[in-house]
């Protein structure tokens, strides 16, 4: 789960990680009020969406007067931002963050992420702040500093000294500031079950202090149950409505651009099914994992979600039943044909637990449009053919 910049900064503030003062608003008038309250003389008007690259997309602008705050708020609020991290359709800006301008001496980069190879969090830093960090890593990898921190010992003084020296910070007061900053950031990373925190840029002010000018945070979805404050920050308007609807039924759904709707159990087999369709000259319309507890209701819901997509010309149901029992899937398919108008060919391949019972159920139901696939290859080939002929 991701949160907005203003929310990340609320968490930063709670842990004493310095940020400029700011106020989140949802209207132009409120933006001006917020600017008055902050006092100025310079403000930054920032679009709040769950994607990076907002500045380049025109979603972050500097205002030097209250009139300018009004103009910019009016311009940015309601605009659709397209950045390198959004899809081509972009994201609608519904919230703004009005922030005090900062006295910027230098722009640095600081993040905390999980290093899957080392199996521990990693502090990543660079003197090249304010730029796309992937480009820095690609072009000048020597400018990326990485410091793994074993959670069993936590953030120690030596981690901090290594960070300060690697960033070329020689002033003792500045060294203390950056070490404390990183220490607090690591603490909040661990305590909130964060998956990633990224501050780009981290600025050094004229006074030698460090400020988080931006803040991105993502969290481990598996830990949200024990992080009620974090969970409350979830903004459903930033997420795909179909994916949310699917998740309510234990389905994992991702929309794609193709023509063949897929309903599969297990993420790996679902991706493998998409690959097979693609290899045979077809195009998958979606990824849909029905999970381990699929029943008639969830399967019917899956059909409904797949069929909402007008591009779908055939549906391929590919189930290898382990925990999932094929007879339940078969009943779900029959259920789906009763409650939704399944107007495209459905290719069904059911194998594994209770597959013979499932075949019997489907045979007796006599559903038009239903084609049986003998195995993965056969089912995929029939689906591709059906989509072409439809």
């Amino acid at each position: 789960m991701n949160i907005h910049e203003y929310q990340a900064k609320q968490i930063f503030a709670k842990y004493g990680v310095p940020t400029p003062k700011g106020i989140m608003v949802e209207s132009v008038d409120a933006a001006v009020e917020a600017a008055k309250e902050l006092g100025g003389p310079i403000w930054v008007v920032k679009a709040q969406i769950h994607a990076g690259g907002r500045g380049l997309g025109g979603g972050v602008k500097l205002a030097k007067s209250l009139e300018e705050v009004r103009e910019l708020a009016d311009e940015i609020l309601g605009m659709t931002l397209v950045t390198h991290q959004t899809d081509a359709a972009g994201k609608l800006v519904q919230k703004l963050y009005i922030e005090d301008g900062a006295d910027i001496q230098d722009e640095l980069y600081l993040s905390v992420v999980l290093d899957r190879k080392l199996e521990m969090p990693l502090i990543m830093a660079s003197t090249e702040g304010g730029m796309n960090i992937e480009d820095v890593a690609e072009n000048t990898p020597e400018k990326i500093i990485t410091i793994p921190v074993d959670p069993a010992i936590g953030f120690q003084g030596f981690h901090g000294r290594q960070l300060a020296f690697s960033l070329g910070i020689t002033d003792k007061a500045e060294q203390r500031n950056i070490i404390t900053f990183a220490q607090k950031l690591f603490k909040l990373y661990m305590e909130n079950d964060a998956e990633m925190i990224e501050i780009n840029p981290l600025v050094r002010t004229g006074a030698g202090e460090f400020l988080a000018l931006d803040g991105k945070m993502g969290f481990d979805n598996s830990a949200l149950g024990r992080q009620p404050e974090v969970s409350a920050m979830r903004d459903l308007t930033e997420e795909d409505a179909d994916e949310i609807e699917a998740a309510k039924y234990g389905l994992s759904y991702v929309a794609l651009d193709g023509e063949i709707g897929c309903m599969v159990n297990g993420a790996g087999l679902a991706m493998g099914t998409m690959d097979t369709i693609n290899h045979m000259g077809g195009t998958p319309a979606n990824f849909l994992d029905v999970g381990g507890s699929a029943n008639a209701e969830t399967v019917a819901k899956g059909f409904e979600i797949i069929l909402k997509n007008p591009k779908v010309k055939a549906i391929f149901v590919n189930i290898f039943g382990g925990i999932v029992r094929c007879d339940r899937i078969a009943n779900g398919i029959i259920e789906a044909t009763k409650i939704t108008d399944v107007n495209v060919p459905v290719i069904v391949r059911l194998d594994g637990t209770n597959a013979p019972e499932a075949a019997e159920i489907l045979k007796n139901a006599n559903i038009a449009n239903l084609i049986v696939g003998d195995d993965l290859g056969d089912g995929a080939a029939k689906a591709v053919e059906a989509a072409k002929g439809n």
């Binding site: 991290q85 999980l114 899957r116 190879k117 199996e119 521990m120 969090p121 992937e134 074993d150 959670p151 069993a152 661990m190 079950d193 998956e195 481990d220 598996s222 830990a223 149950g225 024990r226 994992s252 991702v254 794609l256 599969v264 159990n265 297990g266 993420a267 790996g268 087999l269 679902a270 991706m271 493998g272 099914t273 998409m274 690959d275 097979t276 369709i277 693609n278 290899h279 045979m280 998958p284 990824f287 994992d289 381990g292 290898f320 039943g321 382990g322 925990i323 194998d351 594994g352 637990t353 195995d375 993965l376 290859g377 995929a380």
Partner: protein, 289 residues
């Protein structure tokens, strides 16, 4: 022969009396797994599925001599359960539970390593030595005894791969699902050498996914250490960038961890890479002649 587990392995179940634990323990016992007891706090002294229940893993190990634990506790308690097993002297913990917090798994795996305990999973189907011992949730009937070792990140692709191998007239020595979470226990680099050393395993099926670089490490290891033929499939060639496809492991960012990169690395290491999982069985038939 086989790897990791066989008909003599003494197995306990943590989370024995829960709904999932009960259902799958029953299936494992029916398959022939030597389940010697289970652990559920405050239910010690009872009998469940005709096996003794203990309050702690230490007690279970002391009484039964178990060396393997199958873990079904709820996600929030997985880290705790793994660390308890490690301190009690369990040699292999097979963690089936899905949704364990990543932070807990970092701590738990480090602790397991410190105590010399191997782990498998979490969020995996487990391990099965065909017609001897099943520790996990896979449908046992598709795993016929034979001479192909199978290792996979994905549960259902484990079944798909094993089924195809058996339909071609071959069979399985041991099949292992390693799971696709960010932090996992045993992986390709530990398991491939076990298959290499197992005299009954004549060929290996390796199934990977987009995200991370475990398959790239595996390719390097295969080139240097594995002489047996390997057939590989990498799921997610058509997955769009930046989207999570169910497994936390299946995240592509930038160029690292793409299916293409992994397939090329494996091919360069002499592996037979198939573009569709539907071709796994045929590829095995080809390499085994």
């Amino acid at each position: 022969m086989s790897i990791l587990v066989n008909k003599d392995s003494k197995v306990i179940v943590q989370g024995f009396t829960g709904k999932e634990g009960t259902f799958h323990s029953e299936q494992c016992i029916a398959y022939g797994t030597n389940i010697v007891g289970g652990v559920t706090p405050n239910k010690g002294g009872q009998l469940h599925l005709d096996k003794p229940v203990f309050n702690t893993v230490a007690e279970a190990v002391a009484t039964t001599g178990a060396t393997v634990s199958m873990i079904f506790v709820p996600p929030a308690f997985v880290g705790d359960a793994v660390m308890e097993a490690a301190e009690a002297g369990i040699e292999l913990a097979v963690i089936i539970t899905e949704g364990a917090p990543v932070k807990d798994m970092q701590m738990a795996k480090a602790h397991a390593t410190k105590h010399g305990m191997k782990t498998l999973g979490p969020n995996c189907p487990g391990v099965i030595t065909a017609e001897e011992c099943k520790i996990g949730i896979m449908p046992g009937m598709i795993f016929k005894k034979g001479n192909v070792g199978l290792i996979s990140k994905s549960g259902t692709l484990t079944y798909e791969g094993a089924n195809q191998v058996c339909n071609e007239g071959y069979g399985i020595t041991t099949a292992i699902g390693i799971g696709g979470d960010p932090i996992i226990g045993l992986s390709y680099k530990e398991i491939l050498p076990m298959f290499e050393a197992d005299p009954d395993t004549k060929a290996i099926v390796m199934i990977g996914e987009i995200g991370g670089d475990l398959e790239i490490q595996a390719a390097k290891l295969i080139k240097e250490q594995i002489t047996k033929p390997v057939v590989a499939f990498i799921a997610g060639q058509t997955a769009p960038k930046g989207k999570t496809m169910g497994h936390a492991g299946a995240i592509v960012s930038g160029s690292a961890g793409t299916a293409k990169e992994k397939m090329e690395a494996l091919e360069a290491a002499g592996v037979t890479v198939v573009v569709s999982p539907a071709d796994i069985g045929k590829a095995i038939a080809k390499v085994l002649g």
